[in-house]
């Protein structure tokens, strides 16, 4: 079997290499930051990356499902924005309570994903174009609700959003991090220990073969877009916690951040290969770049984009190398 020898110590299966590379990159960035900046090498810095990117992590989990199955979902950023907008407007206008608003928003997101998945399957259309249409639709719907930012002032909602969960030694996290962690664990279980998860991998590997092997390809494809829609809506709710507002211009370009995180995490864009842990690491790397740049102080924030761009190039080339070696 294909293995890579690391310093001759032990061999590791080739499929884990991309994830390990990302993990190594994360550790290297953290160590370098710790040497260069005072106060960088603390646990809270990493926890802050989680706190600031919990919504992206949840969205990227949904994206991982879609990409593993060989698809792509461009609508996630718009669905996130739509979710913040619906949450804020329903709580502000008619004054609905959060425990009614949040399930409704999750349902809407999942339904949008379901419809897109159904169209992709039933009419055999490229996922790219269908979710592009979904992206415009959801973004446009935001502005039919309102063109301005809507603040969220519901007391329960804001109290939950501002809760600090104290860990040991003065470290703390927000409730959003716990929600994101639960999503990651459930998703990892589904992908590795259920038939649905293995069908996702098989469909991404070869849709034609999966069909001939008698797998429910249609159901799998529709399910992954539904999962992605649900995750986007949940990401939108977490972003509402973070921003305490709903706005049609929230999460512009987040679909691309999510795709970048998945790819940096070692998942092949062609589908069928990758791990959820890689996606978590991908989000952490993206978040840590932002942290480094804010510690640097003199660099403006668009340097984040430059670094993400460079990293993506490197990782795409790495993927190419690995897939070339396999064949």
């Amino acid at each position: 079997m294909t293995t890579v020898t690391l310093n001759g110590l032990r061999t590791i299966p080739a499929k884990y290499v991309p994830v390990l590379v990302t993990a190594g990159l994360f550790v290297a960035m953290f160590v370098a930051g710790g040497i260069r900046y005072e106060g960088f090498a603390s646990g809270q810095v990493i926890l802050n990356v989680f706190i600031d990117n919990a919504f992206l992590l949840v969205v990227a989990v949904g994206m991982t499902f879609v990409i593993l199955a060989g698809g792509i979902d461009l609508s996630v950023g718009s669905v996130v924005a739509l979710s913040t907008m619906i949450s804020a407007s329903l709580m502000k206008g008619p004054g609905w309570p959060p425990y009614l608003v949040i399930p409704l928003v999750l349902l809407i997101g999942a339904a949008l994903g379901l419809v897109m998945g159904y169209i992709i399957h039933a009419f055999d259309i490229q996922p790219f174009i269908v979710t592009l249409a979904g992206m415009f639709l959801a973004r446009g719907l935001c502005y039919t609700i309102g063109t301005d930012s809507i603040p969220i002032e519901d007391p329960t909602f804001t109290a939950f959003a501002q809760t600090r969960i104290d860990l040991f030694a003065g470290l703390w996290i927000s409730p959003s991090v716990i929600i994101a962690a639960v999503v990651v664990l459930v998703a990892a279980y589904v992908l590795h220990y259920t038939r649905l998860g293995r069908s996702v991998y098989a469909t991404g590997g070869s849709e034609q073969s999966a069909l001939l092997m008698g797998l429910p390809v249609a159901r799998t494809k529709i399910t992954v877009y539904t999962v992605s829609g649900f995750c986007s809506a949940l990401g939108g709710v977490l972003l509402s916690f973070y921003m305490l507002s709903g706005y049609g211009l929230h999460a512009v370009g987040m679909e691309l951040d999510a795709i970048a995180a998945v790819v940096i995490g070692g998942t092949l864009l062609t589908g069928g290969s990758g791990f959820l842990l890689g996606t978590v690491l991908g989000v952490l790397v993206l978040g840590l770049i932002q942290t480094v740049i804010s510690f640097e102080g003199t660099l403006s924030s668009w340097w984040t984009k430059i670094f993400i761009g460079l990293l993506l190039f490197v990782f795409i080339l790495l993927q190419r190398l690995f897939s070339a070696r396999r064949t």
């Binding site: 038939r195 070869s206 001939l212």
Partner: protein, 511 residues
């Protein structure tokens, strides 16, 4: 000898596709513990028979009985459920998943709803051990060779309590030792009482592994035979058929060919055709004979530049040339009428005139359109010369009969006044009248000095037209026989069946 009750019995199977009778009154029985070969040329109905058996297509007539019970499957899944598993030519597995997963995906052993990975790996290893394979079942399938992947596909197929295993050309991409391994597995399964239906174009393999065979021709049953009682020559004769009435040889006395037009030396393409050496002279008709899949079309495609040669060289009138693309070949005035006139040649929604003028226009380039008067004149000339009917240049090609479509395709290339005309199965599927007209035309053209490479599955036709016959078998040019009085269809068949090993009548090998 007592014959056990068949596991599967198909009788009087008929299947009609729009315009074609694909199967007509075909019987097939599979006995337990036997390898049964399904023989016939391409288009004889083998794939259709497998597809109606596995539920891809419904049958129009006849009955299928499995263990004495009448069955009708709506999908391959249902057939699988009943114990009829199929392994296709292409490995239909997911190379990104592990070996164990490929065997079990979709029916993984589970415990409390979660996949029981240790048990899955153990069962996969057990199953593979039954096939005498020792693999790392947690390694991705992509790390193994196509042969091993084929075995894994078989392991997946037999795990579903298979009673009937259909192997549709499983050996076409395997090398000799891999084939040997597959055969060992097949013998093991046979001993377990599984009935195996085996399809292959390689006659040697059929004779090595099969016990019994059913031969189809043109969608009809030729018969069921014991492999040990049917010689290879008889088999080839039954597959090709000898229904065509013997016509006179079209060529009179033997001509002398001393002006080589095209010479191919060691020309070959890995995986398609082994290196061959062939010379075509001016005014000579060279026939290519061999079963379908023996490499006839591959030779033609190489000479036309439609495929890249991996070895060897070509020279035209003594000058070495590189036939990289069809355009280069056309510049050297080589024309190629492809085998599949519907998909590769004619454009059904254009008129007769537009189709005929196409190649001429292509050589001139789009900036210099052929003037309309010239078009009408040329098209009119060839319509009458080839007796194309209806003789209306503005008729849509789609509505023409097969024979007339073939003539349109011929006319397209003849306009270019080629020096070498390659005809791949020009007479297949057309009626006898059009057939003889096309044959007569080929004879006329060669008398006029044009060289013709003529490919046909019908040996009589090849014999009648050719001055020299090249025999292909298993992607190798095994013999080149001058067409003299000693050469008969029997000799040709003998050469095809024996692979030129016995030398044929007039000696084999390159000239």
């Amino acid at each position: 000898m007592a014959v056990p009750a068949p596991i599967l019995l198909m009788s009087g199977i008929g299947k009609q596709f729009p315009g074609v009778k694909a199967l007509d009154g075909v019987d097939l029985r599979l006995l337990p513990g036997e390898v049964h070969a399904l023989m016939g040329e391409n288009g004889a109905g083998k794939s259709t028979l497998i597809k109606v058996l596995t539920g891809v297509h419904p049958i129009d007539a006849g009955t299928i009985e499995l263990l004495g019970e009448p069955v009708a499957f709506g999908s391959p899944l249902e057939a699988q459920g009943a114990g009829i598993s199929t392994v296709y030519q292409e490995v239909n597995l997911c190379a990104n998943l592990s070996v164990a997963e490929n065997i079990f995906v979709g029916r993984e052993p589970r415990r409390w709803g979660r996949i029981d990975w240790p048990r899955m790996r153990a069962r996969a290893a057990e199953l593979l051990a039954r096939l005498e394979l020792d693999l790392d079942v947690s390694a991705p399938l992509s790390t193994y060779s196509p042969a091993i992947q084929q075995m894994v596909a078989i392991a997946r197929a037999i795990d579903i309590e298979a009673r009937v295993l259909i192997l549709d050309e499983p050996t076409s991409s395997l090398d000799a030792s891999e084939v040997e391994q597959l055969f060992r597995v097949m013998r093991t399964l046979k001993e377990e009482g599984i009935a195996i239906l085996f399809v292959s174009h390689f006659l040697d393999q059929i004779y090595e592994i099969s016990d019994r065979m059913t031969i189809l021709r043109n969608g009809r049953l030729v018969g069921e035979y014991l492999t040990s009682e049917l010689s290879q020559v008889e088999l080839v004769a039954k597959m090709i058929g000898q229904e065509l009435a013997a016509l006179e040889k079209l060529h009179g006395e033997a001509k002398v060919f001393d002006r080589p037009l095209l010479e191919a030396r060691g020309l070959g393409r890995a995986g398609a055709i082994e290196p061959f050496t062939l010379t075509v002279h001016e005014g000579e008709v060279v026939g290519l004979a061999g079963l379908l899949g023996s490499g006839r079309t591959e030779v033609a495609r190489l000479l036309f530049g439609a495929d890249h040669a991996s070895t060897g060289e070509v020279s035209i009138e003594g000058t070495p040339v590189s036939l990289r693309t069809p355009r280069v070949a056309m510049n050297h005035r080589i024309a190629f009428c492809s085998e599949n006139r519907k998909s590769d040649g004619l454009i059904p929604d254009l008129t007769l005139r537009e189709n005929i003028i196409l190649a001429l226009q292509a050589t001139r380039g789009w900036t210099r359109p052929v003037p309309r008067e010239q078009q009408d004149e040329l098209v009119g000339k060839y319509i009458s010369a080839l007796k194309i009917s209806p003789a209306n240049p503005e008729h849509l090609v789609r509505d023409l009969s097969g024979g007339n479509q073939q003539k349109v395709l011929l006319a397209r290339w003849l306009i270019l006044e080629p020096r070498l005309l390659i005809l791949d199965e020009p007479t297949r599927g057309i009626d006898i009248g059009a057939k003889t007209e096309i044959q007569r035309l080929v004879a006329q053209l060669s008398d006029g000095g044009m060289a013709v490479l003529f490919i046909s599955a019908e040996l009589e036709e090849v014999l009648r037209l050719s001055h020299k016959v090249g025999v292909l078998r298993d992607r190798r040019l095994v013999a080149q026989l001058p067409n003299d009085d000693d050469l008969t269809t029997d000799v040709l068949m003998e050469t095809i069946a024996s692979g030129g090993a016995n030398g044929g009548a007039s000696g084999g090998g390159a000239e």
